[in-house]
């Protein structure tokens, strides 16, 4: 960790160049990403938006090292992740990535604490002080009173907090969240978002995929995708201003809907 921080002072945290992803389903080929370029710096809070099927999840999976691009390069912390093997990728996911899913993905038979500890099972030297680390993470998300509860004894918002605690446990380089509030009501959404903001304010880089403007409003920067490419990449203020122009976004959204 120390060695990575030393040499990467002015290098961007995430640098994606010409990223493509092609899926083959039977005879059909689906171009989920078509040469996407994106650069994200340290301690940014970015929203990724775009209509359904525009490639948001595909991009997030690439950024989270869960999937490998068909072509293009992805430099994370100055390392070319797109060339790594399964074992190295697992280590990167363990040390550098925190992933929050729309459906929480907690292990149903394990307690909140055990769920949070999960990444430590696969970490180097993860057994030392694991309880304290997991408790600290649960404390950060405001769940220090629910450590022994199982997922089915928690509300949706609490489950997502557990998932967030698990994601930030290893103090990753990036916290990725793919529609983290998609399964939550608006009050809970607001709570979860303020939690993300708090974590961001503590120095964490956060990338959130969302369909909702209220969610994006919590971020500093909005990247809009369309057909596997970046459509716009603006600071939040300009993005909101631009959205009222009858140009790109709504027209595109209409087209997508017609096509579906």
């Amino acid at each position: 960790m120390a060695e990575q921080n030393a040499g990467t002072g002015d290098r961007p945290l995430i640098q994606v160049v010409g990223l493509t992803k092609v899926y083959r389903v039977g005879v059909e080929t689906i171009h989920a990403l078509r040469g996407l370029d994106l650069t994200i710096g340290r301690n940014e809070m970015v929203a990724i938006m775009g209509s359904s099927g525009s490639g948001k999840s595909t991009l997030m999976n690439m950024l989270g090292c869960l999937d490998r691009p068909t072509s293009g390069a992805y430099m994370l912390n100055g390392r070319d992740v797109s060339r790594m093997g399964a074992k190295e990728l697992a280590q990167v996911r363990n040390e550098e990535i925190g992933f929050v899913f729309q459906s929480f993905e907690l292990l149903p038979r394990q307690t909140a604490l055990e769920n949070v500890e999960l990444p430590l099972i696969y970490a180097k030297g993860g057994w030392r002080g694991r309880r304290q680390r997991a408790l600290a993470a649960l404390d950060r998300v405001g769940l220090s009173k629910r450590v022994d509860h199982r997922p089915n004894q928690l509300s949706g918002g609490q489950r997502q907090r557990v998932a967030i605690a698990r994601a930030i446990l290893n103090t990753p380089s990036i916290l990725l969240a793919d529609e983290p509030t998609g399964n939550l009501d608006s009050a809970t959404t607001a709570e979860i978002l303020s939690l993300f903001r708090q974590i961001h304010s503590e120095g964490q880089t956060v990338i959130i995929v969302t369909h909702e403007d209220e969610v994006a409003a919590h971020c500093q920067r909005v990247v809009r995708l369309r057909d596997g490419r970046v459509l716009s990449d603006l600071p939040i203020g300009q993005d909101i201003a631009g959205r009222h122009l009858p140009s790109v976004h709504s027209a595109h959204a209409g087209a997508e809907r017609a096509g579906a």
Binding site: R93, F99, E105
Partner: protein, 413 residues
């Protein structure tokens, strides 16, 4: 590479997985349970039998040997009439005098005689004619009176030895030494009471009424061509093989058998029986091992099946574990460990049942298996084979799990 926390949770997970699907796990492990239980109980029975038989051999004496007449296989009856084959007293003497490895030896011949004592008369009691060395060979000495001596035989004294059972059967006084018995109408003096041994050799009970007279006297009371056998002991069990050769050599010479001619007698050392029995027991053990092999194979297929089910049920979990940094090796190990744990639990239950069966065997009256027990090596081997089954048959599902694509796994319903 994988940290202690991983192993801790993998083992906990394996057990909790089995616990959560108790009945399914039990049915899956049934093949292994039955295989291990049946094999260990067979081995237990065999161990008991072996202990019993060997201790019986031991009580008879490992350095003991027998000589008895034997018509060669497929030989025409007229070429080897019984009178030619029967052992002769001279032959017994020759073996005693010439075989250096023979420590003691006695011919034994049995005569059925009517016995009278006081007013009591019993018909057809078996009376054995023996030499004084009989005491050594049979390891039976007198508890009252005196043993037989060379003089008894040489001067054909009308003396006899009896055992305790004979005292009660013949209504003799408590210490009958010095009393007289009528054996076949001839008067014999009781000179000693021989010990009654509890040795039962393959159910042959030697503890009922017994009467012994000097061999030279018995010889006279027999018909012309009478049957006798020779019992003897070698200096030590180690020289049994050589000793047998020596006896054979002397007897062949006595009988004038040329090198090509078949033998008209048998020399058998207890030592040889022990070897043969051990070989037999080893053979049965090997067959039992084969049975466990087959049943573990069948059980293993069940294990593989259930592990494939488990992998597909837990695809999302695998995806999540990969997303938080589980390497393919970690996933592989987790599922392999689960398969091995399942098999070991099956093996454990199997051994428990085997032990129960072994205990049952010791309680069967008359089965003489009171020493039936599962030896440590069989327990260790059962566990080893169970673990091996888990590894072999858990490998394919584990590899399958380890190769799952994290994204596809997370998308699995």
């Amino acid at each position: 590479m994988l940290n202690p926390l991983f192993w801790l949770q993998a083992i906990t997970l394996a057990f909790s997985q089995i616990w959560a699907n108790k009945s399914r796990a039990f049915l899956t492990a049934l093949g292994i349970i039955v295989g291990v239980a049946s094999t260990t109980s067979v081995i237990a029975a065999l161990t008991g039998l072996k202990a019993k038989v060997l201790s019986e051999f031991e009580s008879v004496g490992a350095s003991k040997f027998f000589v008895f007449p034997d018509r060669p296989d497929n030989a025409p009856r007229n070429m080897y009439p019984w009178e030619k084959i029967l052992l002769k007293t001279a032959e017994a003497k020759a073996i005693r005098d010439e075989c250096t490895l023979v420590k003691a030896l006695t011919p034994i011949t049995e005569v059925g005689l009517d016995v009278e004592s006081g007013g009591k008369r019993i018909e057809g009691i078996t009376v054995s004619g023996i030499w004084p060395d009989w005491h050594l060979v049979q390891n039976r000495f007198v508890q009252e009176g005196r043993p037989f001596t060379e003089i008894d035989v040489d001067s054909e004294r009308q003396v006899c030895l009896i055992n305790a059972d004979a005292i009660t059967e013949l209504d003799l006084p408590a210490n009958p030494v010095g009393e007289a018995l009528l054996l076949g109408g001839r008067r014999f003096m009781i000179v000693g009471i021989v010990e009654t041994t509890q040795a039962r050799f393959f159910g042959m009970n030697t503890s009922s009424a017994e009467i012994f007279i000097p061999f030279s006297v018995a010889e006279k009371m027999q018909e012309r061509n009478f049957f006798m056998r020779i019992e003897g002991m070698f200096a030590s069990p180690e020289t049994a093989q050589e000793g047998e050769d020596e006896v054979r050599f002397v007897l062949r010479r006595m009988r004038g058998l040329t090198p090509g001619e078949p033998q008209t007698f048998q020399v058998a050392a207890i030592d040889r029986f022990i070897e043969q029995f051990k070989a037999l027991a080893a053979g049965i053990t090997a067959i039992a091992g084969g049975i466990v092999g087959i049943s573990l194979l069948v059980g293993g297929i069940g294990i593989m099946n259930i592990m494939l089910v488990s992998v597909s049920e837990r695809t999302r979990e695998i995806g999540l574990r990969k997303a938080v940094g589980a390497t393919p090796m970690a996933i592989l190990m987790q599922f392999l460990l689960e398969a091995v744990t399942l098999c070991l639990v099956g093996g454990f239950i199997g051994i428990a049942f085997g032990r129960l069966a072994a205990f049952g065997l010791t309680r069967i009256p008359g089965a003489q298996l009171d020493q039936a027990d599962i030896p440590f090596w069989a327990v260790a081997l059962s566990f080893a084979f169970s673990a091996l089954t888990g590894i072999v048959f858990g490998m394919f599902p584990a590899i399958k799990a380890s190769r799952l694509d994290p994204i596809e796994a997370l998308r699995h319903e």
